[in-house]
């Protein structure tokens, strides 16, 4: 009997095929099928009864209700979940007929969905149909077909330089050709230097071109039906990948390689791979921001770049794999992944192999890996590289141990809390807990102020108050009254934090607690530069996928330090580290005597302060032999210096990525000038472009393009399909995404 029942599937299958009923299950198309249409991608799906037990499928299985013979109506309902695609809000859905029937344990249900007419109208508003079958289960996220199937990340870390290969596998599951568009993040210091498109077995290396030129080549190729791809940079940490003319059933892989340096913080290196762009807020009248819109609502934000987000309860099939090989050069004491489950394999005392768990493959939070190295063996390290451009070095300067012996002077602490909608919920809880701990750690010599901003800014009091127990209690009460809602008018928070008279007797320190989800990054950074004065900025990136470019640059401009407060971090631990840093004076006004090296083009051009626990990475060009250097500066009012012995073996070891890292830093520095000096914009733009082309690097003004002239597809270029992404874990869709 069971065998008989289990063969219901076959009966159902035959019914579908024989009647050519236009059953569409979860393929995303809401176009009616035509009888004459060939089944372009017949997909079957097998679902076992135990998995279905008690579950309900929603929507259609038309003729099965009558043709389904022995199917008894009880609990299980097969459905074709309603799909929304770009602009499909008004699209008429297919005629839906429900069929309910029962499946017993051990039974199977097979359904074959029929493909739709490949020649069906395809435009930006109406997505192509597909033959994919998807079942909807209650309490389980609805799966949405997207043209990005998988992202594979393979990283190799040598010292503190990472070489990372990212492969994006685009796949057309629809039944007419598409152009896939994916807006994705990379680390803001990533020097993207290689780009390869794989079509079938063939690999085509992309060419770096001026952006407009690359866009024109891509558009021409797209219009002529060639498979082509284009990579552009929207922000230093936001990129757009376009792949044109992907035919039904075909897969196009894009491989991107980048180099970047890792951050070192209190004895631990940190490798970060961002996986999703958080929903940005753009001030009114902005058009060149980063829009955040719901899936299918293209153009709603009015911004030049848009990220489409999956609605709550939706999930795309896009997943990510990540593996990392660490060669630290010193003993690794511990490895900790902040947001993901990982498997760590000890290779040697100085090497580890890390793999992301397959069960944690949803790309909705940054991958952050911290590995603690043997602290007493850490030495200032110089690494060099020589090629036909010349010689390059990168050097990590560690603060002298003496700094820890000196206590800080009284402080004027200003806490600026982002209370916008994107911080609503867990992020603001984390930030409040962190500030609360920091406020309670102040002494009566200090003063403090709490400022919050969303669409406007407000603050605890008219001026900073002495950190007495009463005032601290008052501050905590105020802090607890703050919630996340409204826009992210960060400029208001900046003004409130920096536009009031400086208490000369105290060292002003401003700490920003924000996810940084804004689209006008450069406006904020320029305002910060203008208003900074003698203040120091400590930026705290809050949440699972903060805007690290903004956070890093704020700290750099503000001559402070950056820290990240994930939802999985202990805020007390993070703030204790912060307190430790600010408990000792920084070594300021740094200068370096390069000894026998003739050094030029050093970045950062203005050396930041050396803060306890935070080294400074200096990168530049040189001639001569690597030699010991002497770092000078001030500790309070006293001049101080320390020698840095350079290990010849380390220094002369070959490190290919250094030239790219240096060029990337140069470009970032030029771009900072570009946004601050409009009168020199043309000249700076030319220098950025030349540098990027010479080193084959992505920049705002350059792009990678690859065209396969050998493959020419038929007809128009097809439907443009954006890859919708999850809002970062912990971020509320309702308060951040436009619809």
């Amino acid at each position: 009997m069971n065998i008989l029942r289990s063969r219901i599937s076959a009966v159902l299958m035959l019914c579908v095929a024989a009647t050519m009923c236009a059953v569409q299950l979860g393929c995303g198309s809401e176009q009616p099928a035509t009888d004459s249409a060939p089944s372009s991608m017949p997909v079957n799906s097998k679902t076992s009864a135990p998995a279905l037990d008690g579950d309900v499928f929603a929507d259609a299985l038309e003729s099965l209700a009558t043709g389904g013979a022995s199917a008894r109506q009880r609990g299980n309902v097969l459905t074709s979940p309603t799909r929304r695609f770009p602009g499909d809000g008004s699209s008429p859905g297919p005629a839906v007929v429900r069929a309910t029937f029962e499946l017993m344990p051990g039974e199977e249900l097979w359904v074959i969905a029929k493909g739709f007419d490949p020649a069906a109208p395809a435009n930006e508003e109406t997505p192509p149909g597909c033959g994919a079958l998807m079942a909807r289960l209650p309490d389980v996220e609805k799966e949405v077909p997207v043209p990005l199937k998988h992202t594979a990340v393979v990283g190799n870390i040598d010292g503190y330089i990472a070489t990372v290969d990212v492969t994006q596998q685009f796949q057309n599951t629809y039944n007419s050709k598409i152009e896939a568009v994916y807006v994705f993040p990379l680390p803001d210091n990533a020097a993207v230097s290689e780009f390869v498109m794989t079509v079938g077995e063939r690999k085509i290396r992309g060419i770096i071109r001026e952006r407009e030129e690359a866009e024109k080549i891509y558009n021409d190729a797209r219009a002529q039906g060639h498979v082509a791809s284009l990579l552009t940079q929207e922000r230093p940490n936001i990129f757009t990948q376009k792949v044109a003319n992907i035919e039904p059933g075909k897969q196009i892989d894009i491989n991107i390689r980048y180099f970047n340096t890792l951050q070192y913080d209190d004895g631990a290196y940190e490798f970060v791979f961002p996986m999703v762009v958080g929903p940005r807020y753009n001030p009114p009248e902005t058009t060149d921001g980063i829009g955040a819109v719901g899936r299918g609502n293209q153009g709603v934000s009015g911004q030049s770049t848009e990220v489409q987000y999956l609605t709550p309860g939706e999930r795309s099939g896009h997943d990510v794999s990540l593996s990392l090989n660490i060669s630290a050069g010193v003993n690794i004491e511990s490895v900790r992944s902040i947001n993901h489950d990982v498997a760590v394999k000890d290779v040697t005392e100085t090497e580890r192999s890390v793999t992301l768990s397959a069960s944690d493959s949803i790309p909705n939070k940054d991958f952050v890996l911290r590995y603690q190295v043997a602290g007493d063996k850490i030495k200032t390290a110089m690494m060099t590289h020589k090629d036909d451009h010349g010689q390059y070095f990168t050097m990590m300067l560690y603060p002298p141990a003496e700094l820890k012996k000196v206590q800080r002077s009284p402080m004027e602490m200003v806490f600026v809390l982002d209370c916008s909608g994107s911080m609503s919920g867990r992020p603001i809880d984390q930030a409040r807990a962190a500030i609360s701990h920091a406020v309670q750690s102040l002494t009566a010599r200090d003063t403090f102020q709490i400022i919050n901003f969303s669409s406007t800014a407000s603050q605890l009091g008219a001026a900073p108050v002495i950190a007495t127990p009463q005032n601290i209690q008052k501050g905590l009460t105020y802090l607890n009254s703050l919630n996340g809602e409204g826009g992210t008018e960060m400029i208001q928070g900046l003004k409130a934090a920096l536009d009031f008279p400086h208490d000369e007797g105290r060292f002003r320190l401003v700490s920003f607690m924000t996810d940084g989800y804004i689209g006008n990054d450069h406006d904020i950074l320029n305002a910060l530069s203008d208003k900074l004065g003698d203040s120091r900025i400590f930026s705290f990136g809050v949440g699972q996928s903060p805007n690290r470019f903004l956070m890093d640059r704020m700290a750099l401009i503000g001559r402070g330090a950056v820290a990240y407060l994930s939802l999985n971090d202990d805020p007390v631990e993070i703030m204790n580290r912060f307190n430790e840093r600010i408990s000792h004076p920084a070594m300021t006004d740094l200068s370096i005597n390069w000894g026998n090296m003739h050094v030029t083009d050093v970045y950062p051009q203005i050396l930041p302060d050396l803060i306890v626990g935070r080294p400074v990475v200096v990168t530049g060009r040189f001639t001569g032999e690597p030699s010991s250097v002497k770092v000078g500066g001030r500790q309070g009012m006293q001049p101080t210096s320390f020698a840095v012995a350079v290990d010849a073996a380390d220094a002369t070891k070959e490190h290919k990525g250094i030239a790219s890292v240096w060029a990337r830093l140069k470009i970032m520095d030029l771009m900072t000038q570009f946004s601050r000096t409009p009168d020199q914009a043309a000249e700076l733009r030319q220098t950025v472009t030349q540098t990027a082309l010479e080193y084959s690097l992505m920049s705002t003004f350059t792009a990678f393009v690859a065209v396969d002239s050998m493959s020419k597809t038929e007809g128009e270029f097809g439907t443009t399909v954006a890859v919708p992404v999850n809002v970062p874990e912990g971020v509320k869709y309702e308060t951040t995404v436009e619809n």
Partner: protein
């Protein structure tokens, strides 16, 4: 000083001058130069006397007629290296068009598995219509004879043929020995 020797030397010089019309000092200088060249070649070892000269080949790639100047098309140029019966392990070559309406839009690897990965290009030499590419392989299985080592995808505007120049600057075996080889390019069959 032995007067006989002096006499013999002077006599020899005179004889030489008479017979060859080359002064003895010149003859010595030539002999020194030849020795120096031999020494240089010997020091270069494998790259020495057998190093083939760089050859530049001009090829005309046909194009459609009656196409407006602003209308573009995409096509591919196949680059072949013929290393005869030697196994080719490394090569470097330059391909450039004499026309300014040509843009390189992608670089693909060759037909042989040893060179199927897309070759790297010289970033500094990269231009719209010029590229220097190179590759090496440590595989045991290496191509010999005529093999397509790369395919260059280009965008061309307007009608008519385009002239291309190709130069094979390096061709070598696994142990680095330079070997003679010939370069040729053709339009890839679509």
């Amino acid at each position: 000083m032995n007067t006989n020797e002096l006499t013999n030397t002077q006599s020899c010089s005179r004889r030489c001058s008479r017979r060859c019309h080359i002064p003895l000092c010149w003859a010595l200088l030539i002999a020194f130069d030849v020795s120096l060249m031999a020494l240089t070649y010997a020091q270069d070892g494998k790259a020495g006397a057998t190093e083939p000269p760089v050859q530049s080949v001009e090829t005309e790639i046909p194009g459609p007629v009656d196409v407006a100047a602003n209308v573009s098309r995409f096509e591919a140029i196949d680059v072949f290296v013929d290393s005869g019966n030697q196994r080719l392990a490394a090569w470097q070559l330059e391909v450039r068009s004499t026309a300014n309406d040509v843009q390189i839009v992608g670089i693909e690897g060759g037909e042989h598995p040893a060179f199927s990965e897309p070759p790297y290009y010289d970033k500094r030499a990269m231009n719209n219509n010029r590229v220097i590419i190179a590759a090496f392989s440590t595989d045991d299985n290496l191509p010999s004879g005529r093999s397509r080592v790369a395919r260059i995808h280009v965008q061309v505007r307007g009608s008519g043929a385009r002239a291309w120049l190709s130069e094979l600057t390096t061709s070598a075996t696994t142990d680095g020995t330079r070997i003679p080889a010939e370069i040729s390019i053709t339009k890839a069959a679509g």
